[in-house]
């Protein structure tokens, strides 16, 4: 079976809510049903087919193609399966995520993984402000640059970065270490179509926080 694929027809003039297009929400729906789904709960909300070409049938792996910064809430409340974004994504990618994995090969907007509880998000490009905000657990990796307020209100979980973000008073530097679990994690990345598949160094700078929330989460900055 081929992955269920949503190809954006044209860049929309307004924000699209893609939160309903997750493996768990589409698991038992036919292509026809998916095409007629509303993209938000508003009575006059656009339908999926108004903006996306839909193909494929395996809802456990969803691919978004040609997407842009107007596509918000991709992977919202996702519980299982995989989402691959072959393009950019908007705000709140993976917000409230409960499981599964999201791989984005482009840039993402603000509030990446907001209130995420479980799962894995890997971003090959840049992330906007408030990356990992209010995160409860899980893992977010960002290969590119980050906006302001990384890990704002984060309780637990891991932000895996390749570039040092702006320092904040509520994130405490715990030094540089070689962490053995990273070799397991990097092994699991090897089969993924992501820049993270090439990582091998387990040497990281470790920050803990967000202290404003008594958080015991971590930002790991990889020494390459």
């Amino acid at each position: 079976m081929t992955a269920l694929t949503f190809t954006l027809k044209a860049k929309p003039q307004f924000k699209l809510n893609c939160g309903g297009l997750t493996p768990n929400k589409l698991a038992d729906l036919s292509i026809t049903q998916i095409k007629t789904l509303a993209l938000s709960s508003n009575s006059n909300a656009p339908k999926v087919s108004d903006f996306f070409e839909v193909s494929g049938e395996d809802a456990s792996h969803i691919i978004f193609k040609n997407t842009c910064a107007e596509c918000d809430y991709i992977g919202h409340h996702m519980k299982n399966g995989q989402i691959t974004v072959e393009g950019n994504a908007g705000d709140f990618l993976g917000a409230n995520m409960r499981g599964g994995q999201i791989i984005c090969q482009g840039n993402v907007g603000d509030r990446l993984g907001d209130m995420m509880r479980r799962g894995l998000i890997l971003i090959d490009g840049d992330a906007g402000a408030y990356c990992g905000s209010r995160m409860i657990a899980g893992t977010i990796g960002v290969y590119g640059k980050l906006g302001a307020y990384v890990g704002f209100g984060l309780r637990r979980g891991t932000l895996l970065l390749t570039q040092t973000p702006d320092t904040q008073a509520t994130w405490l530097d715990c030094g540089t270490h070689s962490l053995p679990f990273l070799s397991l994690m990097f092994n699991s990345f090897k089969s993924l179509k992501s820049k993270f598949a090439k990582l091998s160094s387990t040497r990281v700078q470790r920050w803990m926080g967000d202290a404003s929330q008594n958080g015991t989460g971590e930002i790991l900055i990889i020494h390459r």
Binding site: T158, S183, N187, S188
Partner: protein
């Protein structure tokens, strides 16, 4: 049956159902993996006094382990699941958590899971961190040398313990030489351990005792110094008997191991002082698994 001049008794080894598990222990190098594994499998020769029977199964190269470091796999067996769980947790806490650079991973898949680091994580006093990687949950516990990494659970499987054979020789040195040859060969067989010191036991037991409080005592029929006074199983030319006990994951694993071991012991031959190979049993009434020597060696 005669093998290289050595008589193989027409008898059988009697073995019991056990619960078993495998744990993979890795470390910065093999030296420290062995330190951890040796401690973990220490004082684990017999369930009678130790709770579990455990031993090192084999060395693992870095390519064979989950974290790409060198390691060893250990097998641990107990008479019931409750004892196995309790012993595993205790030994993890005292032997693996404490050992510099060591990490522990599940070595066997099963629907039945027992705790490896599930409860040990509380040592982290709130700073422990969980990570779900490729469907498996791991715990990272901050310790003074860095971070202790352990998988949350390992599998528990039905296994067999108490496979055995006896080496009867004309001298103590010759019996031990034959047993050493057998153990070296048996170490190459997967899925089994020989839990006694060096893999060899000299104090084989019989059921019961003249002392009411003891339920096992010295196997006098095979004690060479009692030949004249008890109903002995030894001929005049036997001066020493040693036993090799085997625990394994399946009947076939133990049978294969016994075959390899007996053939290695017999390779010293009658000229090397090895006179007979026998086996320990309780008349077939206690253990459901019977390893008949003649059938194994076919």
């Amino acid at each position: 049956m005669i093998l290289n001049g050595v008589q193989i008794d027409d008898t059988f080894a009697e073995a019991f159902n056990m619960r078993g598990t495998r744990v993979i222990i890795t470390a910065q190098n093999l030296k420290w993996a062995y330190h951890a594994a040796s401690a973990m499998t220490g004082f684990a020769t017999s369930v009678i006094g130790c709770g579990v029977e455990a031993g090192i199964e084999r060395e693992l190269s870095a390519e064979e382990t989950p974290d790409n470091r060198p390691g060893v796999s250990i097998l641990m067996f107990a008479m019931g699941s409750k004892v196995l769980m309790q012993q595993l947790e205790t030994r993890m806490g005292q032997c693996i958590l404490t050992c510099p650079t060591a990490a522990a991973f599940s070595g066997v898949e099963s629907d039945e899971k027992i705790s490896l680091g599930k409860h040990l994580r509380y040592f982290g006093d709130g700073y422990q961190t969980s990570k779900l990687i490729a469907g498996k949950r791991y715990w990272r516990i901050p310790v003074m040398d860095g971070e202790f990494l352990t998988e949350e659970t390992t599998g528990m499987v039905r296994a067999i313990g108490g496979g055995n054979f006896l080496v009867l020789a004309t001298s103590q040195q010759q019996a031990l030489a034959a047993c050493e040859a057998a153990i070296e060969a048996m170490k190459q067989v997967p899925n089994v351990i020989m839990p006694f010191p060096g893999g060899v036991v000299r104090s084989g037991s019989k059921v019961g005792s003249k002392y009411p409080k003891l339920f096992a005592s010295s196997n006098d029929a095979f004690c060479p110094t009692l030949k004249g006074i008890v109903k002995t199983a030894l001929s005049d030319d036997i001066e020493s008997v040693m036993e090799i006990v085997i625990d394994g994951m399946t009947f076939e694993d133990i049978a294969n191991s016994m075959k390899v071991g007996i053939e290695a012991a017999c390779s010293l031959g009658a000229k090397g002082g090895i006179k007979r190979i026998s086996a320990g049993n309780y008349g077939g009434k206690l253990g459901p698994h019977h390893f008949k020597l003649h059938e194994i060696l076919k």
